[in-house]
Symmetry: C2
Subunit: 352 residues, 2 copies
DNA sequence: GTGAAAGCGCTAACAC
DNA sequence: GTGTTAGCGCTTTCAC
């Protein structure tokens, strides 16, 4: 730093010059700074000659507008916050990519916050958002800021556009982008039943989770539609992780009266569960059928290949980003967007 | 917007008030704005009484400093850019989490850019970085901005602190955080050889990739150390993806003279390859041993469980973030940090 | 269509 | 230890 905090930029080898500002461009193009600004933001309001001179000057100086100054003045950051419960969960990566590419095309950047179950982090990002560092946010964590613990008093209120993705937020008046979890779970259950399975175990997601509630409803719907009774004894607690799937497998292995099929509400759990069943000497699907949910990359290459429900993850991300961009640019957005799922039949489920 | 672009904040039901600024706090605490600023940045330089009044006023007003104004003035963004080749690759998620948590603790936010093989995106983020939107960057993509296509002329030069993670950047004079790929690959090769395997196939990463170059060297080292000849016929081209692993499996299946072990340089490829071998009726490790690299989550639950090299992914992320923070705060950082890997022995490799 | 000038909210230099 | 003030770089009235 040679100067009061300016960014430096080597122009010629060894000679350090401060970065070009709008004034430099204006001077070079022989116009006012206002015209430079307009040439960039609203070219149609600038004469072609002036515009050409400005563009040339920009090219010559390598001018890039200072975003902090722009934000300070215009109150727009062109940044979107994406709130995740867990960045290390592979389920999110394709969704993130869908979000990122759509945001990118519209000129928005993406800031990721991994809540990691930490209320401090959540408070931090709530403040961050309230401070105007982002124009909008996409919430994948199933609740609004500050709603994790109810009735905790209100921190700085968030007034920017918000969109909920995957995990709907019941009370919130914001666009919700999701799949029909209930219908999908019902479909899988009916598929299992149609193959002759009458004793179908259900490995749940975390208690209270909205996806879990919907999928569980779907499971019961499917049972009912197939004329099967609901047996609470066939419910096994899980939390969508590989580890909980392995634990669920233990549970099943030790039962004297084993179910003939297991519906795991995530592929991770299904893969973990299959691991445990194998280790116990069972074979799939001969001894027991296993179904998953999500269709992550590894579902197709698992041994046996996993029968599951495909979620259009990339499209979900794209749809959420599009909805948010609509809001950001003053357009309206449908309150609920539901994308189609697909029953993917592979080898882990067989007729009884 | 009721006003010239100010952010609004509901204070009481229905009444909308603009967000508190430093002046509001100063007035309420009966000090100057400078004192408020100091009370936040350098509390030790403010009298305890003044500080207490300021803190109280901040609590009362719900004041959150405007980051754009702060950045404009101080030339610091407290943002770090993380450049990834592919966000959807599950290998990165745990690394990202390591980065994020370390950055977060130090008060930095993280902006993710998924290059996605697109030169336009790369140019965009180079400009983005040059424009001063971030204080530093962590590069996971194996090259500096603008170096993807050589001799393409120089866009705005990046002068902020940079750190390379996982994929080293040979010519660059920046801290490199990585594992010893060569030693790890050599170790796995020797492990295979020690079990009696003399015909070991090698499934490579993308050509030209630095990880691939190092691991390939390690493979040859390991062969040499075990007294085995190097046979180019046992090299199979891959690119670290599941799909390329499946293709490599096809290659192996059709050989009349099959290798007895396959060293895949990513777990994804190993899992894909096992899928193909299974489908062809081979059993692992009875007919053929398969080894991976990385120890992703699914390696332990694959069937059979995958013998592989564990990379400390979270720690890699943390180390890179720490190194960058050191640079950002004017401290120096070692030019090369190498974290330990571990040979994880599971069931996919057996003695000949 | 263009320019002058105000000012976004903050920090840092300087004076006391 | 504290206040005054300039000004970071831009956009946006307002006047012409």
């Amino acid at each position: 730093m040679d100067d009061i905090g300016h960014k430096d930029r080597p122009e010629h080898e060894g000679i350090v010059v401060r970065a070009a500002r709008i004034q430099d461009v204006a001077k070079l193009a022989d116009v006012s700074t206002a015209t430079v600004s307009r040439a960039l933001a609203t070219p149609e309001r600038v004469s072609p000659e002036a515009r050409a001179r400005v563009l040339e000057a920009i090219a010559k100086t390598g001018y890039v507008p200072n975003p902090a100054a722009r934000t300070l003045r215009s109150q727009k950051t062109y940044m979107v916050l994406v709130v995740l419960p867990d960045l290390a969960n592979t389920f999110f990566s394709k969704i993130l990519r869908g979000i990122e590419e759509t945001l990118f095309e519209a000129g928005y950047g993406m800031i990721i916050s991994d809540l990691d179950g930490s209320p401090e982090k959540e408070a931090h990002f709530a403040a961050f958002t309230a401070a105007g560092r982002v124009d909008g946010a996409i919430l994948l964590n199933g609740h609004l800021f500050g709603q994790s613990r109810e009735g905790e008093g209100n921190p700085a209120r968030i007034t920017i556009p918000l969109v909920a993705l995957c995990e709907g937020i019941p009370g919130a008046d914001i666009p919700q982008i999701e799949i029909d979890n209930r219908a999908a779970a019902s479909r899988m259950t009916q598929h299992l039943a149609s193959l002759g399975h009458r004793s179908i175990a259900y490995v749940s997601g975390p208690p209270g989770n909205i996806l879990e509630r919907e999928r569980f409803q779907g499971f019961k719907d499917g049972l009912a539609a197939s004329g099967l009774p609901f047996d609470p004894g066939l419910l096994i607690a899980g939390d969508y992780t590989i580890e909980s799937g392995m634990r669920a497998g233990q549970d099943i292995v030790v039962r004297q009266d084993r179910p003939t099929a297991v519906f795991c509400t995530s592929d991770e759990m299904a893969i973990g569960l299959m691991r445990t069943l194998f280790s116990a000497g069972l074979s799939i699907p001969t001894d027991i059928s296993v179904a998953g949910f999500d269709d992550i990359e590894f579902a197709a290459v698992a041994e046996p290949a996993l029968t599951t429900i495909r979620q259009p993850r990339r499209e979900l991300g794209q749809a959420a980003a599009s909805a948010l961009i609509d809001l950001l640019q003053g357009r309206s957005s449908p309150k609920r967007i539901r994308l189609e799922t697909e029953l993917v039949i592979r080898d882990s489920v067989a007729p009884l």
